[in-house]
């Protein structure tokens, strides 16, 4: 037997440990590097668990797909158990259950950590709003004519008048946004308003592609109008500081705010797919 090469069994175990350590202690530096700021950002426990399971799956696949590899991994264990050094044998036999037992103990023993919770950021839109659309984006011909008269737009084409209307509404919404939302959501809608750091559940960054860009405009309307009280339990309303604005503003104003939120974030609402 060649003694020099370390066997496949140990290669596997060592690679596992290295990758695991990387997940646990290496990734926080990468996350910090990406996000900036000065604290390390850990890989959450659930993520660590998930990726470690996958790692084990990958290793298992790799060692077992061929008879040769399987024997290379499995052989040393069998040989060790059958006719390895007796002292080492007993050490392994005693230490292994202890380690596992300790693992189970520390896993299950009561600890003072807050519970792991799933929070659903985008719960279902209440059914009553299912077919509601932003009326300001679909003005009636009379509204258009009225607007044309008010703004002295003369013989401008209908489409252009509509665009002008949307622009005006968005501007009005912008003013309302900067007056009311900016303390939390930030003046650039990036979720970095002056008060933002004060909340554990941060105000949403609207420029994030996973935020308001993934929902229809009606959804934003609902969230702004009803605020945190109407969130279902899976969206932990008790964590949220998002106020309900229906007491202060009319529906029309809220639609304007929604339009402005998208505009400031340079995002577009999700379009409901067309029904053919």
């Amino acid at each position: 037997m060649q003694k020099k090469r370390i066997n496949f069994f140990w290669v596997t175990i060592i690679s596992f440990v290295i990758v695991y350590l990387f997940f646990k202690f290496g990734t926080p530096f990468i996350f910090k590097g990406i996000k900036g700021g000065d604290n390390l950002i850990p890989l959450p426990g659930t993520g660590l668990l998930m990726y470690t399971m996958l790692l084990i799956l990958a290793i298992f696949t790799y060692i077992s797909f061929s008879a040769k590899k399987f024997e290379e991994f499995y052989g040393p264990i069998v040989r060790f158990l059958r006719d390895g050094n007796r002292a080492a044998y007993w050490i392994v036999m005693i230490i292994t259950p202890l380690v596992i037992g300790f693992g189970v103990f520390s896993w299950t023993k009561p600890k003072s950590v807050s519970p792991t919770g799933i929070r659903i950021q985008h719960p279902g839109l209440p059914g009553s709003l299912g077919t509601v659309e932003n009326p300001l984006r679909h003005p009636s011909p009379e509204d258009i004519e009225k607007f044309r008269g008010e703004e002295n737009l003369g013989s401008m084409g209908e489409e252009e008048v509509k665009l002008a209307m949307i622009e005006k509404y968005t501007n009005e919404g912008r003013a309302l946004y900067q007056a009311n939302c900016h303390p939390c959501h930030g003046c650039a809608a990036d979720g970095n308003g002056p008060q933002a750091d004060g909340f554990r559940l941060r105000p949403v960054n609207f420029t994030d592609p996973g935020a308001i860009a993934t929902v229809v405009e009606t959804y934003v309307f609902w969230r702004v109008k009803e605020g945190n009280p109407s969130l279902p339990p899976e969206s932990t309303p008790w964590d949220s500081a998002m106020p309900a604005w229906k007491y202060d503003y009319s529906d029309e104003q809220i639609w304007k705010i929604a339009m402005a939120a998208y505009d400031i974030a340079h995002a577009m609402p999700r379009m409901p797919e067309e029904v053919h």
């Binding site: 790692l55 979720g191 993934t214």
Partner: protein, 611 residues
């Protein structure tokens, strides 16, 4: 009249749920296996390979008892629905009236064809055209049955022919049948059933393989398992796309339903689904890799497997990462924003689409490696005789060019806002580049450099469809959401053209190559467990997605038309779902084992007569 009854005081909804799911699994069985058997038979006739004919026959043998199972569970389902949900069924029968008779007639037709197809096997050996014709009819009935059944469920999700004011049904049966979600559901179910059929056959072969005594039997069942797995993965490749299409249409049918599905209560079911599908892909690849052991010459390629394994598991990890990772309070405050970085990048559609495509490409690559394991010296293209090669290459080229260039132009011509236009031009330019790569690959093949052609295509597809479009997806999510749907179709179009072209090039390149024997039967049992696992996972996935499809209606029998006012109208928790689906799985496999056992009885008789 009561609107709801109970069955010995049990929860009626769970009773119906379990029966419906079991019925559906058997129905999928008798839909898919005939498609499978008929294709195998046809290939056997074309190639003159007797093995194929025997395989088809053996599969059909399973069908007769499976068919009565389907009928029996269907009957029970019908009774339980009529007894437990009389008012709802009254509504449905009023709407679908004639449709239900047509369904029953089709069932008789299917039964007739099935038994004819099975019992006339030996007699029609000399008249294969008749036999295949009947097989075709059998499948036609099967698919029609599925489509009629689908129309009922899809009607419940997206009813049509309803008077918006009164909520009364005013349409015709045909209007109700052709409701909005009908076709998407048909497509998705049909493809998924083929996958299921493949894996059922694989599992059957695996069980037989592990029980057989002789070398010949082992070889036979090993080969059968291989074919089953091949069909299973083959059909699994377009499945994510069909699922995406269905999901999108659910969103269009009702944004509320769409939101519950992807963002709300059901979003976690998709994480569970991701786990299942990831393991399906990994398992199918595992089986291919293990299968390389039966081939002398595969040593040349086994060294690549670690990388393929790595890529697939990486894709799996991304595919699995939820957008809302469960966090503890401490973690949430350390993260300092709504989403963790991994969720932010891996948890969204753009990333998922990219990795799914990469996973499909990698699986295909595994398959090519497997295929070339027993091929050695090739004959250069220019020295091969015959025009068949040219025809194959040019047909493939014409088709793939039509897909890429045609789609490219249709994107350019799409009616969208001006701001979105530039993004679309970028996507179509990628499609045109892919078209150039396709032409390049064909030219290289003709000038005896087929392998380089394949690499070129793999590289261009991986770089554009996975890397560039993966990143571009984030840009679009932010700036031009409208364009995203074009992006995901483009990714799939690229991947599919790559698969088609590379498969054809492979066939041409190796057509006259020296080959070594495949030693069928030389497989370890671990690989057979992988086959069984694939089937189990498929059943779980079907059970899970059944829960999602049905649960999306929340407290409606018929969405927005007929309310479920029973005490069981709540959405069961994920935890409850796992119990019910687990139970369904156990019952289904118990019944399936019975079917397998029953069919083995006739096998024994045949053998006894032969002796």
């Amino acid at each position: 009249m009561e609107a709801y009854n109970t069955f010995f005081g049990l929860d009626s909804r769970i009773v119906v749920w379990i029966i419906a799911q079991i019925h559906l699994l058997f129905a999928a069985f008798v839909l898919a296996v005939p498609v499978f058997a008929l294709s195998v038979e046809a290939i056997g006739v074309k190639s003159g390979d007797k093995r194929m004919d025997d395989l088809a026959h053996e599969l059909t043998k399973l069908l007769s008892s499976a068919f009565s199972m389907t009928a029996a569970t269907g009957g029970i389902l019908g009774f339980s629905l009529f007894c437990l949900y009389p008012e709802f069924m009254r509504y449905m029968t009023n709407v679908f009236n004639e449709g239900m008779f047509i369904y029953a007639l089709c069932f008789i037709g299917e039964g007739f064809c099935l038994y004819f197809y099975y019992y006339s096997w030996d007699r029609t050996q000399n008249n294969k055209a008749l036999h295949i014709g009947i097989g075709g009819l059998l499948n036609l009935f099967g698919v029609t049955l599925m489509m009629i059944g689908n129309s009922w469920t899809s009607f419940m999700m997206s009813p049509s022919g309803i008077d918006q004011e009164t909520g009364e049904f005013v349409g015709t049966v045909w209007e109700a049948t052709t409701n909005f979600l009908w076709q998407p559901l048909n497509i998705h179910r049909f493809i998924a059933n083929i996958v299921f059929g493949g894996f059922i056959v694989g599992a059957y072969a695996a069980v037989k393989f592990m029980g057989c005594k002789t070398k010949e039997e082992k070889a036979h069942y090993d080969w059968m398992g291989y074919i089953g797995n091949f069909v299973g993965i083959g059909a699994m490749i377009p499945l994510p796309f069909a699922g995406y299409f269905l999901g999108r249409e659910v969103y269009s049918a009702s944004p509320v339903m769409g939101n519950i599905m992807m963002g709300g209560r059901f979003s976690w079911t998709f994480i569970v689904q991701a786990i299942l599908i990831g393991i399906l892909f990994l398992g199918a690849n595992y089986y291919l890799w293990a299968g390389m052991e039966r081939i002398k010459g595969s040593e040349r390629y086994t060294k690549y497997i670690k990388y393929l394994n790595g890529i697939i598991v990486f894709c799996f990890a991304v595919w699995l990462t939820p957008h809302n990772l469960p966090l503890t309070g401490e973690e949430r405050s350390l993260i300092g924003e709504q989403y963790h970085i991994i969720s932010k990048y891996f948890g969204v559609m753009a990333a998922k689409n990219a990795v799914v495509n990469l996973m499909i490409l990698t699986t295909f690559f595994s398959f090519l490696l497997y295929r070339r394991s027993n091929k050695f010296k090739t004959v250069p293209f220019t020295q091969q005789q015959g025009s068949g090669k040219f025809i194959a290459l040019f047909v493939a080229l014409a088709f793939t060019l039509f897909m890429t260039v045609g789609y490219g132009f249709s994107i350019l011509g799409a009616h969208v806002d001006v701001e979105v236009k530039p993004y679309l031009s970028f996507i179509s330019i990628c499609l045109f580049i892919q078209a150039v790569a396709l032409i390049g690959a064909v030219v290289l093949t003709i000038s005896n450099k087929g392998l380089i052609g394949q690499w070129l295509l793999f590289a261009s597809t991986a770089i554009m469809a996975v890397l560039i479009m993966g990143i571009y997806g984030f840009v679009l999510m932010k700036n031009a959401n409208m364009a995203l749907r074009f992006l995901s179709v483009t990714q799939v179009a690229m991947v599919i053209t790559c698969l088609i072209m590379n498969a054809v090039i492979d066939a041409v390149y190796y057509s006259k190559a020296e080959t070594s024997e495949i030693e069928w039967g030389k497989m370890h049992y671990r690989s057979q467990f992988a086959l069984i696992l694939l089937c189990v996972l498929m059943v779980m996935t079907m059970g899970l997605m059944g829960y999602v499809r049905s649960g999306l209606r929340e407290n409606w029998h018929i969405y927005a038309v007929l309310k479920d006012t029973s005490p069981w109208s709540f959405t069961p928790t994920l935890f409850n779902m796992t119990w019910v689906v687990g139970l369904v799985m156990v019952i289904f496999f118990a019944l399936t084992s019975m079917v397998f056992w029953l069919s083995s009885l006739t096998g024994k008789k045949d053998e006894a007569e032969a002796h």
